[in-house]
Symmetry: C2
Amino acid sequence: MAHQHPKGTRDFFPAELAALHHIECAWRTASVNAGFDEIEGPTFEHLDLYTVKSGEGIVSELFSFKRAGGDVDYALRPEFTPTLARMAAAKGRSLSVPTKWFGIPSHFRAERPQRGRLREFKQWNVDLLGIDAPSADAEVIATAIHALAELGLTHNDVVVRISHRSVVTSMLLESGLDASQLDQALALLDKKEKMDDETFLSKVNEAGLPEAAFTQFDGNTEISHPDLDVLQTELSRWGVADWCTFDFGIVRGLAYYTGIVFEIHERSGAERAIAGGGRYDKLIEMFGGPAMPAVGFGMGDVVLSLVLKDKGLLEEGDAYMPTPEVFVVSASDEGDDAIPNIVSSLRAHGIHARQSYKTTRNVGKLLTEAGKTRAKNAIILGAELEEGNVVVKNLESGEQIQVPLASVVEHFS
Amino acid sequence: MAHQHPKGTRDFFPAELAALHHIECAWRTASVNAGFDEIEGPTFEHLDLYTVKSGEGIVSELFSFKRAGGDVDYALRPEFTPTLARMAAAKGRSLSVPTKWFGIPSHFRAERPQRGRLREFKQWNVDLLGIDAPSADAEVIATAIHALAELGLTHNDVVVRISHRSVVTSMLLESGLDASQLDQALALLDKKEKMDDETFLSKVNEAGLPEAAFTQFDGNTEISHPDLDVLQTELSRWGVADWCTFDFGIVRGLAYYTGIVFEIHERSGAERAIAGGGRYDKLIEMFGGPAMPAVGFGMGDVVLSLVLKDKGLLEEGDAYMPTPEVFVVSASDEGDDAIPNIVSSLRAHGIHARQSYKTTRNVGKLLTEAGKTRAKNAIILGAELEEGNVVVKNLESGEQIQVPLASVVEHFS
């Protein structure tokens, strides 16, 4: 039997990889234009990098291993934040303020593959370190939105649902919840959306938590809080208020968030979250670095691709593949011998040049082959070669001219 | 204690990643211009994808693992050829002839890290499938050379050392070697360079092999063989003969090569091989695909980076990092409030725009900060804002003009 790729992973044939690069290009452009610098870490880390954090949910989802004969435990990277925190801690006080980093690495989760969730995926990570201000929160959100807009999405397609850990926490405590019940209450709130109101309230009662602590979040966009007012102003200043809404059902599972948390969703609720992030002001210190506030998000390629496809914004076939400037065909033995030198010279001068490998002398067939590659021009090596000339045919206009063989490269440079 | 990256892996901070991207860009440009289509596979494969091959040397160097609770064996990809063969086999007879693929994935070897060898590295893989001709061998070699030339290397810096499995094999057999001794003889030849002549000949004698079978390769560039003559002609046609030499000390450890084998080395012998490859006409069939001849090579980033650095061709610091078109500074409260909207609008229009996060009103200091980012222009939000204008300063020429706030984006578009 033929070998298969492992379950939950993907083979990217040329057209599929070109579509992924189309998305990565939007991510990279938005990041670079916003002044973020790209970083990359190892694909696997020491296992304890992931176990030191209190968010234990991730540990059961790790691919972990040892080197044969070695005794060090490693794990494939399930998310980028621990690597980023480790790298920031390694730089220590020499880190500039702010430090703006992004990355587009592969990540790995050992969970069961399902729609929108794979065992290997690409994730865009954007983090702004050193600024503890709502303007930084809004700048990071705006960067995510600029990439989505570049891909053709509008605020009618997607929404950034924003909550705030400290606002939610203080509201829970003020409505009679005990501090010892906070983690349990946040975990319940995180799952609220996945059940009907009745089931949710029965779970609240089962847990012995006060109902009023939770019902106050219903119709939650009208909740007022000074921190939210400031954030709202900043989202407007950054020109992205139309894309955002407050939603206190957003909790985010990871324990390291300390301020705003947010998720980006398809507006009608189709598919899983496109992105998730928030403020994590203590994490870099926790990894041995300086006390450094931070805000960031991760956006995977899998859900985003589904949303783009659903909306007709990700083309099928070879739409995103590079097209040749020149396709060289030969109608003679002399032409065959001349092809390598012509294409090699063109390529050495930075020109995308392909050639036919077919042995036919039928120029019509050869030009059909050139057309299939969507080449802009064909060079035809025919009888004109005896006078040292080649035919250059513009495959869009059909126009043909003769060019001396010796100046073909110059002609296309 | 602070967390460290695993031994043999690397953290790429921004300047280091930009230098890697500089190399990857040369690889990608050379591949795309030569008509190769980029592919990518999973970072880990089923372990048996690597054990089915007869080249067992690689197996001890694998990072292998199971999913917790699972019984399938996986391994981090040590090389790309098995993935490529698997993907080609999956397409079967629908593969076009030729199929020209390249990739730039991460690879992993569990061996002891040393100069030029890490446990995780990037490798450029280029493969041309479906053409069993010396011209295809030469085209693939020319593609490698175009990338090296793009990085500033010349044929005075590096050399492609080419051997030919069937030429060497037939010469060994004709000089009295028994067919059963072939593998042993090739393995010895592979190590010849790492020992002096005396040691080598004593190893040959110890193994009971005929000395004459090996001494015939001394002064090997004068060996004549019809297959080598044809290849020499093709290398000339592809314009790369100056970069190449025949060298029968090149064997390549992997058992799947069937025709030419080659390595690219720094000409004086500094560092390990920059690249290695060859023809492997049986491999795709071995992976369940159609009978399809193939030729390709892999080039890692680690040795290449060392060679480029040795020759002063890889700059230090932020040389390869993107520079902003615009850096926005404010000298007033009104300016502070206006910054987010200006930078967000510029970024939304595809312009690389940064801003100062400093609270100083000292424009001189702020422009120094702008200069450090190597920004081309500064936008200064000062007293002119009251009339709805901003100052645009060209940081190269020092020239300053006033532009209406409302047309700043247009000014830079």
